[in-house]
């Protein structure tokens, strides 16, 4: 099922959600040859990269729920300079295009990281993680349409590469945010990111479980939320949508496509099954063929 997305010709519509598949760690676990021979996704989306290195949140970082997972990882990464020097040349040998996800604490910082990433020919597209507060304004960049538009107007001119805006579901009206992204020149939007979640200690003390205090819920538990939000966004914007949230089977991917997505990202299911992406792509293809 070949598909065209922001000028990229992809073998099928299944990609990974940012931060749910580390191709370099997978090479260590499964071997480079085996991974590359059966790479499960039609494009590879990197973990979020920031201007300066981040260690991530203290453990515990995970909490299992009914058919879901709360994570509070804290975006650990080596910083954009080391990422471009060490990791990008290795990602460039993957058999699929590389999409780099970036984040910044201000519009200025996001523009700086985007420009650095945009200079690299190995990177096919850039995904902007806007699910964070703007330390300059105190507003959640991705949650407030005017704030999102202002930040994107600062970032858009620094690169000619396709810009995908990863929308947060933790907002009053995700479709308004998508419209703001489109107005400011985004080439695509991706959604949904995780739903904000706070697990407590199981001992009844009321204390928080996660080292980072709060996290984000993913997995089958949020699948119907993803369908609602992708459908709402598709009614309001013309740019392509990467839909995600709880996809476990080809049927789930087909559902997201049917409400308006062009690509579908698989995340949490890859934790349960390392080649889930390839299985879902095959199931989707069989559905499309009327099997």
């Amino acid at each position: 099922m070949p598909v065209s997305f922001c000028g990229l010709a992809l073998d099928h519509p299944i990609v990974n959600g940012s931060g749910t598949f580390d191709a370099l760690a997978a090479e260590r676990a499964f071997g480079r040859t085996a991974l590359h021979a059966a790479f499960p996704f039609s494009a590879y989306v990197s973990k979020t990269i920031t201007l300066v290195p981040r260690p991530g949140n203290p453990p515990p970082r995970l909490w299992e729920t009914a058919t879901g997972l709360v994570n509070s990882i804290g975006l650990p990464n080596k910083g954009v300079e080391a990422y471009l020097a060490d990791d990008v040349p290795r990602y460039a040998t993957l058999p699929v295009p590389l999409i780099t996800n970036v984040m910044g604490a201000t519009g200025e910082e996001l523009a700086e990281v985007t420009a650095a990433v945009g200079d690299r020919p190995e990177i096919a597209a850039i995904e902007l993680n806007v699910s964070c507060p703007n330390v300059a304004t105190g507003l959640d960049i991705g949650a407030v349409p005017a704030e999102l538009e202002a930040v994107l107007r600062r970032v858009r001119p620094v690169t000619a590469k396709p810009l995908i805006v990863k929308l947060t579901p933790n907002t009053a009206d995700v479709a308004l945010c998508a419209q703001a992204a489109e107005a400011a020149g985004a080439d695509a939007v991706s959604l949904i990111n995780t739903l904000r979640a706070v697990p407590l200690q199981p001992d009844g003390s009321g204390a928080r479980w996660l080292g980072g205090r709060q996290g984000g819920l993913s997995g089958p538990a949020i699948r119907v939320v993803a369908l609602a939000q992708v459908a709402a966004v598709a009614e309001r914007v013309g740019i392509p949508i990467v839909g995600m949230g709880g996809v476990q089977h080809g049927r789930h991917a087909a559902d997201l496509l049917s409400v308006g997505a062009t690509l579908v990202a698989v995340g949490t299911e890859s934790f349960r099954d390392p080649i889930a992406g390839a299985r879902i792509a095959a199931e989707l293809s069989a559905l499309a063929a009327g099997a």
Binding site: R28, E64, A66, I73, F271
Partner: protein, 303 residues
């Protein structure tokens, strides 16, 4: 427990990574339950895993049942669970588990013939006593001389559910002609029953119902009092590993700890299973461990 081939090295054709670890087949595979047995507080699970390679001692697998994984208490489990095997050879894997939550409860109630999803072996296993000794000494700058005994004496320390990789490592060392000192700690006699077949092991229980009344780390301190030229390998709950880490750090004894952490994937994707490092930052237990040099670690978290 003793399905071992002799003669030619059965591990020679297995794909290995750049650091020597046994690589996992990409994806998850079906394995069938061959037998289950309850020994005291634990359940021993034998799986037929025809498509998987034998693990390096200290590596681990991710397990989930094919049927009824989920829909238990609170609709859990959802994610696979990580276990180091107590043995792996001839297409079979042996695990030991205790029914303490929804995942282990489902695994503990498995019957012969039921199917599991298995992936692995994952991570980095134990390293030889010579390697551990030399690497620790090259860090500390001390004289690497070992005396005229031929090598440092391995002391293997297990606490409760940390027993399986220690058993597997002890067997591998024996095959290589090295007899290790085994120190095993349990909560009580019911948990200690599983250790009955290790006649030469020293035993400790928290409540004194079997062996030494106290912690296994007290046995370790006594062994190190007697002989400092040792290399320590330990696996067990966080608080026990932290007690071992403090002890060997004070006495500058080269040590590898096999760590446990809640993890979603087992292959470096989720970044959930981290432990803090001495020099700052975190390491992922699944790909950087689970076996790590004690000297690289900050205090080991309790969970």
């Amino acid at each position: 427990m003793s399905v071992h081939q002799s003669g030619a090295d059965p591990h020679s054709a297995i794909p290995r990574g750049e650091d020597g670890r046994t690589l996992a087949p990409f994806g998850r595979r079906r394995a069938l339950v061959v037998s289950t047995r309850t020994v005291g507080s634990y359940v021993l699970l034998e799986l037929a895993d025809r498509d998987g390679p034998p693990a390096d001692p200290g590596q681990f697998h991710m397990l989930a049942t094919q049927q009824h994984w989920g829909a238990g208490e609170d609709e859990r489990p959802f994610l696979p669970r990580a276990f180091s095997p107590m043995g792996s050879s001839g297409g079979h894997l042996w695990f030991m588990l205790e029914d303490v939550g929804p995942g282990t409860h489902r695994l503990a109630t498995l019957k012969k013939g039921e199917a599991l999803w298995v992936s692995g072996p994952f991570g980095r296993g134990f390293h030889s006593p010579e390697t551990v000794h030399v690497e620790a000494r090259s860090v500390s700058g001390d004289d690497p001389a070992l005396g005229d005994r031929g090598g440092p004496r391995p002391i293997l320390v297990a606490g409760g559910i940390g027993l399986p990789p220690i058993i597997d490592w002890s067997r591998r060392l024996t095959e290589q002609g090295t007899e290790a000192t085994m120190l095993l700690g349990f909560r009580d006699a019911a948990h200690a029953q599983v250790a009955a077949s290790f006649a030469t092991a020293q035993l400790a229980t928290d409540d004194g119902s079997a062996g030494h009344h106290g912690y296994v780390t007290e046995l370790l301190a006594a062994e190190l009092d007697r002989d400092q030229h040792a290399v320590v390998y330990a696996c067990g709950p966080g608080p026990m590993l932290e007690a071992v880490r403090r002890l060997v750090s004070e006495r500058d004894v080269p040590t590898e700890l096999a760590l446990e952490a809640g993890m979603a994937c087992g292959y470096g994707a989720c970044f959930g299973c981290v432990v803090p490092l001495k020099d700052g930052g975190y390491a992922r237990v699944c790909v950087d461990g689970p076996v790590m040099a004690a000297g690289d670690l900050a205090p080991v978290p309790a969970h």
